[in-house]
Symmetry: C2
Subunit: 177 residues, 2 copies
């Protein structure tokens, strides 16, 4: 029963995210991930020799996906600012009711240092935005508001209604100029 062509890595990563989302970040065990991915535990450990490596894979995957999406947005919109692209991308990410990143809590529980690459990424993005934005105050407000939106999505807090989120986004775009 061996899948001749199985890109197991991606399946496992996706399965891990699913398990964290559905069973809760505290229930992300290797056994659960393996069975969810349709893979044996040995198979999982073959691809990710340790749980920490799995978490690392999750983080790297997340970051590279995000970067790709942001670059695509920034390119497709032509001469639009990166900040606008970031706002719109985040709005879309938060629109779908998937708090798709609750695996992050598992990673933090495993080792808070898994946040380091994410922090670095954000810092880098912030610096990039500073380079293209005239008014630092406006940038700060926008950047933090987006952060807040993402955070609420992560924590699965649907405090805002659909309309409110749309109003928020348009307000931010206005501030961003």
């Amino acid at each position: 029963m061996r899948a001749p062509r199985a890109n197991s890595r991606e399946k496992i990563l996706a399965a891990a995210a699913d398990v964290a989302r559905e069973a809760g970040p505290g229930s992300l065990s290797l056994d659960a991930v393996a069975s969810r991915a349709g893979v044996s535990k040995g198979g999982l450990l073959y691809n990710f020799p340790t749980k920490a490596k799995l978490m690392q894979g999750l983080v790297e995957n997340y970051l590279s996906d995000f970067q790709k999406a942001l670059e695509a947005r920034a390119a497709e919109a032509g001469h639009e600012s990166v900040l606008s692209a970031y706002i719109k991308l985040s709005a879309d990410d938060c629109e779908r009711p998937k708090p798709s990143a609750s695996w992050m809590f598992s990673a933090i529980a495993e080792d808070p240092d898994f946040l380091t690459p994410i922090k670095a990424f954000k810092h880098q993005l912030f610096e990039r935005l500073k380079g293209e934005t005239a008014d630092l105050g406006s940038l700060l407000v926008c950047f933090l508001a987006i952060e807040g939106m993402r955070s609420m999505n992560l924590f699965d807090s649907d405090v805002l209604s659909e309309d409110e989120r749309k109003l928020l986004v348009s307000s931010l775009l206005k501030i961003a100029g």
Copy 2:
């Protein structure tokens, strides 16, 4: 050496927060909390019959502290808006380099439903702010930006410098009117 009246509950709660902050949210074990609080495991279990109850205690403590602090701010400043009080309170909370609430990750790992009271609290606060703020767009931007600030503090992300945070706060206060 029976302490006739030691308010063990508070000591335990504080110890739990300390352990989560220093050893990481994944290392919050009952043994660690007990020894940190200067209490035996049995004593801990006497006050909090289960780990879930301990988490619940943490959440309730956090929420009531926050509410008290907010009320105090709103009262002391006289006729200032609640939104301004909320902004300033959050700014002060985030100023000290203590990501004092990393126990929250442990709670989420234990059971994501521990977030429910927090979500409810935020929702309630948001409704209250809506009642006193004229421009919904401005309120949304401020509210989310504060959320972002708190989130960054929680994740121990020091992306913003001291000056930037001050500028952010003053910008928010201006928007809040």
